[in-house]
Symmetry: C2
Subunit: 324 residues, 2 copies
């Protein structure tokens, strides 16, 4: 997207944003361990120095610690530490090897990912000295295996593969969003924002497991799909300003794709996107209420967990809005 | 690899090949349904026209039908048809979108794979009209879900993700094998030859399931790792002539990597590779004997299945050798 013809600050501070507080009214409960998570995650990075810059490291530990405290407000400390370390690993991998760096040399990114795929598959292989991301992933997988049932672990490692593929898919299209259809984008976006992975670790973190029948029920599938959309789209809206400010092509995100699809301007795209977010939030909110009140057992636990997870994203966009 | 200085036919017909009949003595039993599989697979391609060329289609149905009859000689017809359809799908996907075509436009390949990842993850998503490969994959997954336990299905879909990633990894490196270390190659090769996927469908096809304890035993892991290596390396040796005859860089395979690693010529690389194959075959043979005779139940069934699977690869290279 070209800068030509722009007047005033870009993007305009008055862009329409979704009102999600109707479906997700605050205040959002937070774990009392938030600061502990932040400290523990920083200590984990001493063992596995995934991030070079002290400033970036501090910021990521802060966001991850406070975010995880909102995501799983009732979880135990060790489970929170583990979940936070995993999310931090994903974010650091994306920052280090994905995005602009991945777009520059996608073949190199596939080699980085191949080391992770080898670990996720759990195969014996040639003796190899893993890089720091491989060593950290090995640590995470060992700790998750100790806490998970076999199916929980298989689901988690499947989602992590999809996250890595999503990072690779994104790297191939950052410079050419015109090759991406809105349907393609909707299918891939949950993987690049890691939201399905957080849903998968909810059961491990909070100690419940859905039956296959519960998992495949219309209510659970609709709830998860709505929150998966919502998380990615909210993130697109909140990060648009930062991404559009950088030189280069239009951000690969919902506003850009809606502008193309509807041949409209940025403000109208934000209005459309906001409505889409509000609709998905409403679907999620109804399903959460339904499952929490009538589901019982693991279904209620899952609905509450997915609700907290969604709230942490809502908190995030509200936070971003007030920062603007 | 340059052609310069070559005299006579290339590659030389006298290249050393592994002697695997010590560990895998024939004759290899075959299913009586071999010709039925071939016919049924051709009929499946009428519903899902994955391959345009009638000649390529006939050849692939023949190889897949006869190969599957050797892989699972005692399996029932419907299970054989399903396994054959899946292997045919993988080979056709690789031929159509991977290899040279994938190397030309890896971003396009990631978009093709993204449709498959969406189906493998089983997520609800936007309404979309899948392409013929997507529709065929959906058919396969529905049929496998009916025959599988939840863990069998999760393992299968994990392996299929790894196959698709392997195809993508290969597409990024076909033109530059110099960027691939021998360790990287050893880790990725089982995924590009689909051998772990065949191991995963053995239990679904033959109706057994290992416990987690059995699956993670040293004997099973060593057997599977040995056959995973063997299948890829044998394929590299058997296909070298065809791949080296094409214009372009050296084939991305074991001989090329061994020539670089040992600064040796092609004949010496084939000698080294043959020894590596024989060693892995010997490891596999010993573990198969051990597990078949003392394992009992699912362990014996699995060892026999992995043995048949390995035999089908051995048959394949012997077949190739006699064709030379």
């Amino acid at each position: 997207m070209s800068d030509s013809g722009r007047t005033g600050p870009w993007p305009p501070a008055t862009l329409p944003m979704p009102d999600l507080l109707g479906s997700f009214p605050g205040p959002f409960p937070a774990s009392p361990h938030a600061d502990d998570i932040e400290r523990q995650t920083a200590a984990w990075l001493d063992d596995f120095p995934l991030i070079g810059s002290p400033g970036a490291r501090k910021a990521l530990c802060n966001i991850t610690g406070q975010g995880m405290a909102l995501t799983f407000p009732t979880a135990g400390r060790d489970a929170l530490f583990l979940s936070a370390d995993l999310l931090l690993w994903l974010a650091a991998f994306d920052d280090t090897y994905g995005e602009a760096e991945g777009a520059r040399d996608p073949a190199r990114l596939t080699r980085r990912i191949s080391e992770c795929v080898h670990l996720l598959a759990g195969h014996d292989g040639p003796p190899r000295a893993p890089g720091v991301f491989g060593a950290a992933l090995h640590d995470l997988l060992t700790r998750f295996a100790e806490r998970s049932t076999p199916t929980q672990y298989l689901r988690l490692t499947a989602h992590l593969r999809d996250n890595l593929f999503g990072i690779l898919w994104e790297a191939h299209h950052l410079g050419r969003p015109d090759h991406v259809t809105l349907d393609d984008y909707r299918a891939m976006r949950p993987h690049t924002v890691f939201v399905r992975t957080v849903m998968a670790i909810a059961g491990i973190t909070l100690g419940y497991e859905l039956t296959e029948r519960q998992r495949s029920s219309a209510a659970v599938r609709e709830l998860e799909a709505a929150v998966a959309d919502l998380a990615g789209w909210i993130n697109d809206l909140a990060s648009y300003g930062k991404e559009a400010a950088a030189d280069g092509p239009a951000p690969l995100g919902l506003p850009t794709l809606l502008m193309r699809q509807h041949a409209c301007g940025l403000e109208e795209a934000f209005r459309l996107a906001s409505r889409m977010c509000e609709e998905r939030a409403a679907v999620a909110g109804l399903r959460i209420t339904e499952l929490t009140t009538t589901g019982g057992g693991p279904l209620s636990a899952h609905a509450q967990a997915v609700g907290s997870l969604a709230s942490s994203y809502v908190w995030h966009i509200e936070h971003s809005r007030y920062q603007a």
